[in-house]
Each structure stands twice: as C-alpha cells, then as structure tokens.
C-alpha cells in the first residue's frame, strides 16, 4: 500500500517535471538553444491564471453564461496563450538577436530573462513576494473514495498524456509539425525545399509557450500555492529531466521527468533521514547521466547534443 501511494506521488511529480522538460526539448530540437527561462515562464502562467480568476466579476460572469468547466478551460487557455505570446516576445528579444552566434549567448540571455521575469512578478504582482493561494479550478473529491485517486491527480495525469498525444499528432501528422521536424533535423535542407523557416520557429515558440503555460497551471494546482521564485527550481528540474531523457527528444523528456521524480520520492520515502538528501541524490543522478550517457535515455547517439 505504501509503495503504491509513493508510486502515485512519484508519477504526479514526474508529470509536472515532464511538462517543462517537453518545453526545453521542443526549443532545443528546433533551435539548438537551451531556453533556460522555461520554468519562470510556466510559473508566469500560474500567476496570470490567478490574476484572471481574481479579477472582479470576470470569472463569475463567465460562470454565469457558460457551464463552469467551460469557463475553467477558457481561463486556462487564456493563461496559457499569454505565456505563448510571452515566449514569442522572449524569442524576439533575447534569442533571435543571437542567431548564428555561440549557443552560450542565448543560454545566458534566457537565464537573465528568467531572473528578470521572476523579479518582475515579485515586484508588480500585488503582494507578489508572498506565496499566493492558487485558485482550485480542478474538481475536488476522489474516485471511488480512494484517497490516491483524487480527481485532481487523475486530471493532471490525463492532461499530461493528452498534451503529449496532441503534440505527437501535431508533430507527426500535420504539415506544420513535419516542417518543425524537418527544420530540427536539417535546417539548410528544409530551407532549400521551401519551408518558411522563420515561421516554423515562431510557431514552435508559440506552441512551446502554450505547453509551458499548461504545465505551470498543473503544477500550481498540484501544490495549491504559487510563489514568484518557484520557477527557478522547477526550470532546473525540468532541464535536468530533458537532459536525462535526451535533450531534443520529447518522449525522452517524459522518461527523464519520471526518473528524477522517482529518485526524489523514493529517497525521501524509503531511506531513513533521506528527505534532506532527496535533491542531492536527484542531481547526482543527473551528473552521472551527463558523465556516462550524455545522449540521455532515448536521445540520439551524438555527444554534441549536450
């Protein structure tokens, strides 16, 4: 029983890491850049949603004209769209100027942008440096009176699965998605066969930002609180998940997220006094991966990737 509930805890944590790891992988796959502000962008979405819900009258009016689950979905989509646009802005301001230069440049500039974003939330959001209670938009209650299967947990897992499935369909079955793949595999060849490279990049950032936004929403729902500085750790864990899974590989991101989450949960659950070391062990595992399997669990065999 204990093992089952710890498994559940790990899966939940893994889902939250995986979503941000997918963002990292998507951007890396197409642009060969590590967009380090992904965690902060995700948390920005959580704040945007909190703000949308607390704007006087908006949520109530929506609830008045629409069934409540529709207005919840609308608000989530609005929040995620805001981060999609934010990601476009990020691309234009801190990534595009460094195109064709060393990949260290956008790495640094996105770290800086992440810090700026975090601090701006802290300064400009009302009481932004205090933890905010996140509005509970997901239904309460449990499935069949079983504490493990609360609706919220089920929805978070399902949302992760659906999001990944949609992403799979988008990348493999639509023309735009195939173009993203083409650009990711060989930019020059893709341009030669007439793919509008710039447009593909913009779409990738929009979609990536949207996914990060949904990720931020699910994380905040799982924790019930948002803090302005949550994005730093969340982003770092997501990045590690992406590296462990294989940077640039969307499915690897899920595997990596789960791996890190499992190590964390099981160290704190089954090693006496291990709680304080959960993060230490998780990050050590990342170091071991970089040393011995730099291409990640299901990454392509090329050491350059990391």
């Amino acid at each position: 029983m204990l093992v089952v509930s710890q498994l559940m805890n790990a899966i939940m944590l893994g889902c939250t890491y995986a979503l941000v790891a997918i963002g990292f992988s998507l951007f890396f796959g197409v642009m060969d850049v590590v967009v380090f502000c992904a965690g902060d962008v995700a948390i920005f979405a959580a704040f945007a949603i909190t703000a949308l819900v607390s704007i006087a009258g908006l949520y109530a009016t929506l609830n008045g004209i629409l069934p409540s689950f529709v207005s919840v979905i609308l608000i989530i989509i609005a929040g995620a769209s805001i981060t999609g646009l934010l990601m476009l802005l990020m691309y234009r301001t801190v990534i595009k100027p460094f195109e064709g230069k060393s990949s260290l440049m956008p790495l640094l500039s996105t770290i800086a942008a992440g810090v700026a974003l975090r601090e701006l939330i802290g300064i400009f959001y009302p009481q932004g440096r205090n933890p905010q209670t996140f509005p509970q938009l997901l239904p309460a209650g449990t499935l069949a009176n079983f504490a493990l299967f609360s609706w919220r947990n089920i929805i978070i897992i399902l949302a992760t699965v659906v999001l990944v499935a949609l992403l799979y369909l988008f990348v493999n079955k639509t023309k735009t998605g195939l173009s993203i793949q083409a650009v990711s595999q060989n930019k020059e060849a893709a341009i030669m066969i007439g793919i509008n490279w710039q447009q593909i990049v913009l779409i990738t950032f929009l979609v990536g930002g949207f996914i990060l936004g949904i990720g931020g929403f699910l994380v905040a729902s799982y924790y019930d609180v948002v803090r302005f500085d949550m994005g730093a750790m969340y982003g770092l864990k997501g990045f590690c998940a992406a590296v462990v899974g294989g940077l640039g590989n969307v499915y690897g991101a899920i595997v990596g997220g789960m791996l890190i989450a499992f190590v964390e949960v099981f160290v704190s659950a089954f090693i006496p006094g291990g709680t304080a070391y959960a993060n230490v062990v998780a990050f050590l595992m990342v170091v071991v991966f970089i040393l011995f399997k730099p291409e990640g669990v299901i990454g392509e065999k090329s050491v350059e990737k990391v």
Partner: protein, 407 residues
C-alpha cells in the same frame, strides 16, 4: 539598419526595466517619513526595527512592525521623553544576507541608538555580530533559536520572547502527558530554527517514559510537495505529527495530510505556525483541530490587552498584529524606558536595557544573566471553526468536539 535600431531599443528597454527592478528592490525598506518628527534641539533619535517585511513571512514582520510603531507613536504623543523618537524600519526579508546589510545600515547611522529585530533565527545569527561590534543594543522580538542569547552576546543582545526550548516544554507536557499521545513523527525544516526545534522536541519526548519518535524528516523552506514524507508517516501509524517550522510549509503539510486521508492524525506545532495565514492556506476544514503553543497569554485576557487592541485598531493598520506583535510592542516600550533612564548614548542604553524590569503588555519582563526574558507564560491554541482558539475555552476542552485521533 531599422532592424538594428529595433534591437537596440529593446535592449535599452530591458536594461531600463532591470535598473528599475533593482532600485525598487533595494529602496523598499527605509521609510523615512516626517523629517522633523524626531528632531529635538537639532538632535534626531532613531530606533531601528528589523524584520521580514517582504517574502514568505512578511505577515509576521509587518504585524510586529506596526505594533512596534504603535508603541513609539504612543510614547511620542504622551511626551514620555524630552525628545521625539523615530522608527527606521528595515526589511530583512527572512534572509541572513539581506538582514546583515540592513543591520549595517542601522549601525552606520549615528542617529540610530538602539534596534529591535528579527523573526528568523538564522537572520538574527547573521546580524548579532554587527550589533555587538557597534556596541548597539538589540532587543530580539521574535526569533526563538535558543543560542541567540548567550554569555558571549550579553549584555548587547536581549530577547523579550521565550526560546524554542521554553516553548516546546509546555507543548510536550500538553500533547504527551495530557493527551497521552506517545508515537510521534517529526517534520522540521533544515534551517537553524527547524533543527533546534527537532532537538528541543527530542529532548522533551525523552522525558516521558513510553513516548518515542519514529521518524524525523528534514524539509527545505520553499518546498511544496510533502506527499512522499506524509505517505510514509501515514503507513507508520503515529499518534501525532510534530511540525517544527513556519507557517507556509506547515499549512501545505496539513493540506496534503488531509488530501492523503490523514485528517484524523493530530498535527502539533509551536508559535511559528500560530497565524491566520496558516488557516487561510491550509483551508478551514483541514486546519480544524491543529494544536500549537504560543508563549504569552491570550491578549484579551491581559490587563492591558484591550487597550492595546483598541489602540491598534484606531491607528488604522491594515494587517493583523500577528503572533509576535505584542512582543514587538513590549520591545519598543523597553527601549523607550531605557532611553528615559539612560539617555541616548548607545553604551549606556545597552546596560540600561539588560538591567531593566519593565511591566508591560505581557507582564513583567526582566532579563536573566544571558539576556533571556524570565517572563515565559504560554498558552495552548487549537484551530476551531477557522480560528486559533485558546484551548481552555475551546469546544475541544469541553468535550463537545474531539481532537484528530482521539479515542
């Protein structure tokens, strides 16, 4: 060319934003209102207040700051001193680094003659050497790490609130002796505050035959997910969970306990969690039946309590004065009393404060040979219908309701 300009403009804008962010971040602490307020024949007497005015514990610091200011305002209005006193409030953001620079700022100002500070013990640890080397008295209003007051720090550092040791004693007596809970799980944070709580609680538990601690888990401040720890504790089937940390993590622990079906497991804590924000964040239903101890007696039962509450309301502060407001209020009055006795010389103030015997809101405060208050009355609180209620008047004591896990 146009493109280049656009990029330049964006970069400039970004730099401007960063500068604004930095300036706003640094300038927040020093409220220098009313320049002529503290002047007396050309002399300004200032006392510094340090505490978490922003960050996760801001609700504690702001409430205490308000109470501190109230005391000074009352003294100024009553003409207690031949000069006016001005409060300089400095934000330590619960961060030792920020606290240290705030303390530097306080001691560097020749007009500041005394300081009162801190809710977080690690922050106090960082600032104590600064006050000691400047020979400025520091009256601690809310940090409860046992080692802050010591022979080495005497007479510069005094403290009006009881230490964790002094707090854990009545809680253990209540939870282990009176309620008969024997099997405990401990969750504390990794700060000095959390670690010394774990130590103090361990010591207390050992005093009672048959009582035991089955697990100790250390968590990070700022951690959000306690489900793995709680699932483990659930399987261990304990009589109670002791939480040795502060509001935010405590509230999330309680919330997640209920989520995991542990509503019927008792959660106890010390004064760090006695705050309305705990109930807000944990949720009214989840918080029901949580027990905590707080030093001091219920304000409304104290002789000066009613007058204090009325004055606080009247002064128009938006935030509640919180668990440590009364301590900050007494700390301010002790400094004012010392100013009256010894004048405005920092060194003379140090001795005057250390030797003081002051009859204030919380009773008679005097300091022992290491600067620790000898006034240690405490009260057990329990959450009832979304409020912290004195155990003695609660429905739990009268038997109308049963605590989680009561047989």
């Amino acid at each position: 060319m146009v493109k280049g300009k656009a990029i330049k403009a964006t970069v400039l804008l970004a730099i401007a934003l960063l500068v604004i962010a930095l300036v706003a971040g640094c300038g927040g602490g020093s409220g220098s209102k009313g320049k002529d307020e503290g002047k007396a024949g050309g002399k300004t007497v200032k006392i510094a207040f340090l505490g978490p005015l922003t960050g996760a514990n801001a609700m504690q610091g702001v409430g205490a700051r308000n109470a501190f200011k109230l005391a000074v305002q009352q003294a100024n209005d009553a003409g207690k001193l031949p000069f006016k006193v001005e409060v300089v409030d400095l934000d330590d953001a619960s961060n030792p680094g920020t606290g240290a620079s705030a303390a530097q700022k306080a001691v560097a100002d020749p007009d500041v003659v005394a300081a009162s500070g801190h809710w977080n013990s690690p922050v106090a640890e960082a600032t104590i050497p600064i006050f000691k080397s400047a020979e400025m008295p520091l009256v601690i209003w809310g940090a409860i790490g046992p080692t802050l007051t010591s022979k080495e720090n005497y007479p510069y550092i005094t403290r009006v609130c009881p230490t964790q040791k002094q707090e854990n004693l009545p809680l253990a007596n209540f939870a282990i002796n009176q309620l008969g809970r024997k099997k405990w799980a401990v969750i504390s944070d990794t700060t000095t505050y959390g670690k010394s709580n774990t130590e103090a609680w361990k010591e207390e538990v050992q005093k009672y035959p048959g009582a035991e601690i089955v697990s100790i888990d250390e968590i990070q401040v700022g951690q959000n997910d306690f489900r793995p720890i709680l699932s483990k504790i659930k399987a261990a089937n304990v009589d109670g969970v002791y939480f040795g940390g502060v509001v935010m993590e405590a509230a999330l622990v309680r919330r997640q306990m209920v989520e995991l079906g542990m509503k019927n497991t008792l959660l106890v804590g010390i004064s760090g969690i006695v705050d309305d924000k705990f109930i807000d964040t944990a949720g009214k239903d989840a918080a029901e039946g949580v027990v905590a101890t707080k030093p001091g007696k219920d304000i409304s039962k104290l002789s000066g309590g009613k007058a204090f509450e009325e004055a606080y309301q009247k002064a128009g502060f938006k935030e509640p004065y919180g668990a440590y407001g009364p301590y900050a209020y007494d700390a301010a009055n002790i400094i004012i009393e010392a100013l009256k006795q010894a004048g405005t010389d920092r060194k003379k103030l140090v001795d005057a404060i250390a030797k003081i015997s002051y009859n204030g809101l919380l009773g008679t405060t005097a300091f022992n040979e290491i600067g620790q208050t000898t006034n240690v009355a405490s009260t057990i609180y329990v959450v009832q219908d979304g409020k912290w209620v004195d155990w003695d008047v609660s429905k739990y004591k009268s038997g109308e309701r049963k605590l989680p896990g009561a047989k």
